[in-house]
């Protein structure tokens, strides 16, 4: 997936981690290009932290090889990997002032006092917190503390910064502000960043590339657009964005056109990216924003009645109950003077067949 023209910053080759009986991470291959912003996205327990800590050297892999910046780092101790890490709980030293905290990695590198002073000043400038240099971390808000811990990271210019849910402890508004700030720092400094989150919006906002994790494996990886518009599995489709999923059996016409036979009818669909044979089970994915309320029957539409409509500012969401008891979500733009849909009203949920997407069925269990 990575551009082969830029050399890899991190290269994982068949890296796995077991804890006794638990396979925290199955054999994973992953390459992160220099300067890239990669996000590990996945539900809790999917192995994101494990993967990050393997790269940081806090745990050693059960098998596989880790190459950082062209150097085999599989067994290299953490303090010699030259990385930066931002923790969810900030991990600032409580007994040191903000200045001393940011100076710490520079002291480790034995810089002169004058140089330390200059660099810490610059780092504080970059995060616009110069005025708190002499305070203790606990005298700062969560957002300020996290910015300090970012500054502590960028001050020594590591080749790679790892972040494990760094904004998880902040409230929504601050989180969005910090997302932009981290993006800005990434753009300005060109540091490679590997970012862990379980929040799909955060991943979509920030990443050059999203690596979606599921049960200790990489489910799918690609740009935010790819993951949103071209999910390859039901898991990907459900984890990123909301989705309407209609299960059925694949039919392939004489002309090679695909269709899915479902309890709600037979729907034409574009050919899937990974071949599915005729007669096999499959799932048709239609994003809610690709569905609309329609009065008349169209080639791809389902009859039902409105169970609920909710207004989300710029958009409206209709929940449509179909004849077989399943439920579909329709999302439309909210217009002034929009004729309201009423609860219980009989409607049709319609979509353009080319907006459908055939996916292999979700594995049982």
């Amino acid at each position: 997936m990575t551009a082969s023209s830029t050399p890899a910053m991190v290269e994982l080759q068949g890296v796995a981690k077991r804890y006794g009986e638990v396979n925290a991470l199955h054999r994973v291959d992953l390459s992160i290009a220099k300067g890239e912003f990669v996000t590990l996205l996945g539900p809790s327990g999917s192995g994101k932290t494990t993967l990050l800590n393997l790269i940081a050297g806090m745990i050693t892999p059960s098998s596989g090889r880790i190459v950082i910046d062209g150097r085999d780092a599989t067994t290299l101790p953490t303090n010699r990997r030259g990385l930066g890490m931002v923790f969810q709980n900030y991990a600032l030293m409580p007994h040191m002032t903000v200045f001393e905290n940011i100076a710490f990695p520079l002291e480790v590198r034995r810089l002169s006092k004058a140089e330390i002073k200059r660099k810490v000043g610059e780092a504080l400038e970059l995060i616009q917190l110069g005025h708190v240099a002499n305070r203790k971390p606990r005298e700062l808000s969560g957002g300020q503390q996290q910015r300090i811990s970012l500054a502590r990271c960028i001050v020594y210019n590591p080749a790679l910064i790892l972040m494990d849910e760094p904004l998880g402890a902040l409230d929504k508004k601050l989180r969005e502000q910090m997302q932009l700030e981290i993006k800005r720092l990434h753009a300005e400094l060109g540091i490679t960043m590997l970012y862990v989150t379980h929040d799909q919006d955060e991943a979509l906002t920030m990443s050059d590339r999203i690596v979606l994790m599921n049960g200790g494996r990489i489910e799918q990886q690609g740009t935010p657009d790819t993951l949103y518009f071209r999910p390859e599995t039901v898991f990907s489709a459900e984890f990123i964005g909301s989705s309407n999923l209609i299960p059925g059996t694949v039919e392939i016409g004489a002309d090679g056109a695909y269709a899915l036979n479902t309890a709600l009818g037979r729907f034409a669909a574009p050919a899937p990216e990974r071949a599915i044979k005729a007669g096999e089970r499959a799932v048709l994915l239609v994003r809610p924003e690709n569905m609309a309320l329609a009065d008349a029957a169209t080639p791809a539409s389902v009859a039902g009645h409105i169970e609920d409509s909710i207004l989300l500012g710029g958009v409206v969401r209709h929940f449509v109950r179909c004849a077989d008891g399943s439920s579909l979500i329709i999302q439309e733009l909210n217009q002034p003077g929009r004729s309201g849909a009423h609860r219980g009203e009989a409607v049709r949920a319609a979509w353009q067949p080319q907006h459908g997407r055939l996916l292999p069925p979700a594995p049982a269990g």
Binding site: P77, N79, R80, R81, F87, N89, A91, M93, P105, V108
Partner: protein, 285 residues
């Protein structure tokens, strides 16, 4: 204080009622004898400070007082020196192993102080294990006196002091957020720098608590110096014993006891002040 909010829901009368039994017991076993001691030190047929004036000019008392502080502080320092590495090691163990080791740390508590003292003599005494070995390898020329002198007192005391020191340091070390260490490691810090810059400063509250407990305990030590010390290792508690049982001078005994109480109270207050400022420095956990 969030914890006290539920207590303040009680009506004052209920609170008083709940406190009454403990107050009565404390009055009976602590305040009454203490008051009696103070009274005895001031009243001997008539009311006077004579006993204190005499004490302040008594070379015996002053020498014993200096002994007491030297032994208490020396014992505490030795206990800190041995206790810190043990606490560090315990903190690094997985919980189950740590529990097993902690039981070993606590073992001395379950042994009578007399038995412990004799065991120490058997090991460190003139005919003890160590001197027998030294005599054997040196052809009978080497004999290091380690019992019935200052060394003996301190050896005997740390036996008793160490568990307190280890436990309070361990508490601080276990409260230390492991992610701070991990953060320091990712920033490239080696183990020595991590110890000096992070582990040690953040464990200072535990160290100071341990020192405080050790000093308090050892200042009033009585049996160990009597059993394992020499004539010149008399401590204030032994002096009190001397006055009460040998010379039957109850006024001097009481005045000595009160003086010790006040002086050790001052020392504890001083150490407590240091501890308070360390807590403010952000080392608290």
């Amino acid at each position: 204080m969030a914890q006290s909010s539920s207590a303040s829901d009680l009506s004052p009368w209920t609170a008083l009622l709940l406190l009454a039994p403990l107050t009565a017991v404390m009055l009976l076993i602590l305040i009454y004898p203490l008051g009696l001691t103070v009274w005895t030190s001031l009243y001997n047929g008539r009311f006077s400070f004579d006993a204190y004036v005499e004490l302040a000019s008594s070379t015996l008392f002053l020498r014993v007082l200096r002994n007491t502080f030297e032994i208490a502080i020396g014992g505490t320092l030795v206990s800190l020196l041995f206790g810190y590495p043990v606490a560090l090691h315990l903190a690094a163990q997985p919980p189950r192993k740590r529990t097993a080791y902690l039981i070993m740390v606590m073992l001395p508590f379950w042994t009578s102080i007399l038995v412990k003292s004799f065991a120490l003599v058997a090991v460190f005494g003139n005919q003890g294990l160590i001197n027998q070995f030294l005599g054997f390898v040196s052809g009978g020329t080497l004999n290091v006196p380690m019992m019935f002198n200052r060394v003996g007192v301190i050896l005997g005391m740390i036996n008793f002091l160490l568990p307190f020191m280890i436990l309070s340091i361990l508490g601080s070390l276990l409260a230390l957020d492991r992610r701070l260490i991990l953060a320091a490691e990712t920033m490239g810090a080696g183990p020595l720098r991590i110890f000096w810059k992070i582990t040690l400063p953040l464990s200072l509250p535990g160290v100071l608590a341990g020192v405080l407990i050790n000093v308090t305990l050892s200042i009033g030590m009585y049996i160990t110096p009597a059993l394992l010390g020499g004539r010149q290792d008399m401590m204030v508690a032994n002096l009190v014993d001397f006055y009460t049982r040998q010379t039957l001078d109850w006024t001097a005994a009481s005045a000595t006891a009160v003086a010790l109480l006040i002086l050790s109270g001052l020392l504890v207050a001083l150490l407590g002040k240091v501890r308070g400022s360390a807590g403010l420095a952000g080392a608290g956990a």
